[in-house]
Amino acid sequence: MSVNFKSDLKPVWCPGCGDFGVLNSLYRAFGELGFETHETVVVSGIGCSSRLPGYVEAYGFNSLHGRALPIATGIKLARPELKVVVVGGDGDGIAIGGNHFLHSARRNADLTYIMMDNEIYGLTKGQAAPTTPQGDKTKSTTYGNPEAGVDPCALAISFGATWVGRGFSGDIKGTAELMKSALQHQGFAFLNIISPCVTWRGDDQHKELRAKVRQIPAEHDRTNMPAALLFTNEAGILSTGVLYDVERPTLAGELAAIASRAEARGVPAREDLLRAFM
């Protein structure tokens, strides 16, 4: 590893939390890709998982619940040369932040979005998230969750993300590899990382989830949307790997094209702008 991305702040996470694995994978991915701390920005919302930017020696923004993506979009558009990575929880990204997820993907904004999916609201002490399976009892669903849980990868694909993958926090090396591909993708890359919450989903989560994990076969055609969707919403299985990887004009590319079309009208001096008012 060329650069050490570990900050000197101690994580507040519970012992055994899956987020430690995600953090370690991220250190590794950043290092192996030769990122520089001052050219990297990690943006998050609010949640246990959203505490992550504080633990990365880089520019970081632990923002508002659900609003990481718009903030990251602003950062990236302001300084396209920066590496902008968004991290956060499933509640943060799909509940309160669902609309920004949809539109950031639709725009194909040049961001890497890493979701730490624990099927629960961790920080607020265990309420149902949109990823919580139907029927599950949680703090907020005494009689069982009345709503259907979603698969974030399926949503990402239908929202228009151009790279979609799934990882498991228990597999630090594999997850780091997925992060590396996501970080190298042009456009909106979404990586869902199954990251167990031992406190509110039980100590057995790690074991149970690990048992479900399957590697996506090498022959899977990542450019085929229906094929990719087959690896979503699977019963009893969590397929890890790259589900989807296509090319589509990115927001940065489109805005650059607009800039050249606009500049073709001439770069106006103040007097030029004022002429419109005569």
């Binding site: 701390t37 943006v43 520019y59 632990n62 718009p70 302001a78 920004h100 702008l273 004022l274 008012f277």
Partner: protein, 566 residues
């Protein structure tokens, strides 16, 4: 002969009432006259009735006239909708379609029947001809404007309109007072929204994110066109939450950034305003006020977003609030907004009003310059602390890309390094740091107010925003009548120019607070911040939805007990 003229044109969708007003306004502005042009529409989305009022003067003006000198009515049915909004004088001349029988009550006025219908699509330009001849308006400039307006149409269309204009010119009345002026340096004609957008460009804004909303959308349109031409970026977001989020992000990354919205959007931005204050990331919001609460009256003006601007967002959230008083001032206030946001690293709300934002008004090009202040960027990275506690509360900011400046910010309470802390002592220290910035702003920007009229007035008017233009004219007229009335309008509302304002209050015998908010938001705010003696203060606070007029102000002033207005 007269030094000013006010006229309204009222018609149905296809009648081109507004187009005629535009053409006329541009024409007289080119002759150096002052103009204010406003429009009004019926409820129909398009093709419904519309009215356009143009006031022309040889003197600077910042308000509509009390009553119009002339009125063009293509159809009485359409006029009915605007009857309450268009004030007529005893001697108002009304040009109306000869085939359309006037309502009974209109017969009190001087009615001039005209064969408008026969002129079909050109009837608006035809009407301009009549008006030009009647009031001595600059025919050549109008012809030029007509040609420019139809430049993209066929030659036949252009000719038809020019012909209509010439025909109208032959029908002018002889006995009306003609406008008496010598052409001077051409003026620009622009709206408050355009002036705000220009101000943003002047200030160095290179990032805009916004979501359309009446009456602020034009700022999105203009900056969407201009920014990409000057190396900037414009993003239309999915909603206002994202708009202000993208602004905070771009600003964190070092770009001067703006969003524009109106009440409902401002309400949605409440939470992010708190983040901007807490993470100390500059952000500028131009909020163009309309009738509220809720969706309210999107197309009409009001001054009722003041409370939300001052106090919206949970927690002790420092922010600055400025107010535009007219179109030209929208330019300056927007630059000031950026200067304050950048220098003090906090959210700034620039309040405009529909009546300023969407009216078109003459502006002198030479006035459109304004000093620009830059952000305090970190240069020393030895043991760099992003939120270092300083005297004025401002800590040098590092920008992503700067080596050694890495920090992690957040909306949680944090220490000088930006690290989350739930300790009371940190919280108190950091609250104090953040709020000290307001003291510093008050010092640097305490001059942002307008004071009119004599010292030690018998009556001191306290007002803000667009009311200033109206009050200015009222003060002039009252002064001419020998009444010692003065006015004070803060152009920075948070923090208030408290010292100057208190002095004004103390030196005024009686006070009149004047605002377009039913709940008297301005008055209540002044009471909370200043010593506003109850026994000497009267309040005139009414709903928006109709512009404040000079005569309304004069009427309020004259209600002050006579022994005061000696």
């Amino acid at each position: 002969m007269s030094h000013e003229l006010s006229l309204s044109i009222v018609g149905a969708g296809g009648d081109g009432a507004v187009a005629a007003g535009d053409i006329l306004s541009l024409a007289v502005a080119r002759d150096g006259l002052s103009v204010i042009k406003t429009e009004a529409y019926g409820p129909q989305i398009r093709g419904g009735e519309s009215s356009c009022t143009v006031r022309i003067s040889t003197l600077p003006i910042r308000a509509q006239a009390d009553a119009v000198d002339a009125l063009v009515v293509f159809s009485w049915a359409d006029f009915a909708r605007f009857r309450a909004e268009i004030e007529l004088a005893a001697d108002t001349v009304i040009f109306h379609d000869e085939k359309d029988a006037p309502p009974e009550e209109m017969k009190a006025y001087r009615l001039v029947p005209i064969a408008f219908a026969a002129q079909r699509a050109s009837k608006n330009i035809f009407a301009l001809g009549i008006l030009a001849a009647t009031f001595g308006l600059p025919a050549e400039q109008i012809r030029k404007s007509v040609r420019a307006r139809f430049a993209k149409k066929t030659e036949a269309v252009i000719e038809a309109n020019v012909t209509a204009f010439e025909l109208g010119m032959t029908l002018g009345l002889d006995d009306a007072k003609k406008l008496d002026y010598v052409p001077s340096e051409p003026k620009l004609l622009m709206s408050g929204n355009e002036a705000s957008a220009l101000g943003a460009v002047e200030a160095g804004c290179r990032f805009f994110a916004g979501y359309p909303i009446t009456p602020s959308s034009e700022i999105l349109h203009y900056l969407g066109e201009w920014l990409p031409r000057i190396g900037g970026t414009c993003l239309q977001t999915e909603d206002e939450l994202a708009a202000i989020g993208a602004v905070v992000g771009a600003s964190f990354a070092g770009k001067k950034s703006l969003t524009a919205t109106s009440g409902p959007g401002l309400s949605l931005m409440s939470e992010m305003i708190g983040l901007s204050a807490m993470a100390e990331v500059p952000s500028v919001i131009v909020n163009v006020q309309r009738g509220g609460p809720s969706t309210g009256i999107p197309t009409k003006s009001e001054q009722s977003d003041l409370w939300h601007s001052l106090y919206g967002s949970h927690g002790d959230t420092p922010r600055a609030v400025l107010a535009c008083t007219d179109v030209e001032d929208s330019f300056h206030t927007t630059v000031d907004g950026f200067n304050i946001a950048e220098e003090f690293q906090l959210p700034v709300i620039v309040l405009s009003e529909q009546s300023i934002a969407q009216r078109r008004e003459t502006v002198e090009a030479k006035n459109l310059t304004h000093g620009v202040v830059e952000r305090r960027i970190a240069t020393e990275f030895e043991s760099y602390r992003r939120y270092e506690v300083t005297d004025d509360g401002v800590s040098p900011m590092s920008i992503p890309g700067q080596k050694g400046g890495e920090y992690q910010t957040n909306g949680l309470e944090h220490d000088e390094r930006g690290r989350p802390s739930s300790m009371y002592t940190t919280h108190e220290t950091m609250n104090a740091k953040r709020w000290r910035k307001l003291d510093a702003i008050a010092k640097t920007y305490g001059h942002l107010f307008t004071r009119l009229g004599p010292d030690r007035p018998d009556l001191g008017i306290l007002c803000w925003g667009s009311s200033l233009g109206v009050v200015r004219e009222a003060v002039d007229r009252l002064t001419a009548r020998g009444i010692r009335v003065a006015a004070f309008a803060p152009r920075i509302l948070m923090p208030l120019p408290a010292e100057a304002m208190q002095r004004f209050i103390d030196e005024s015998k009686e006070l009149l607070v004047l605002e377009l908010s039913f709940a008297a938001q301005f008055y209540k705010y002044l009471r909370s911040e200043l010593d506003l003696p109850k026994n000497r203060t009267r309040v005139f606070a009414r709903s928006g939805g109709k512009n404040l007029t000079v005569s309304e102000v004069i009427e309020q002033v004259m209600r002050v007990p006579e022994e005061v207005l000696v």
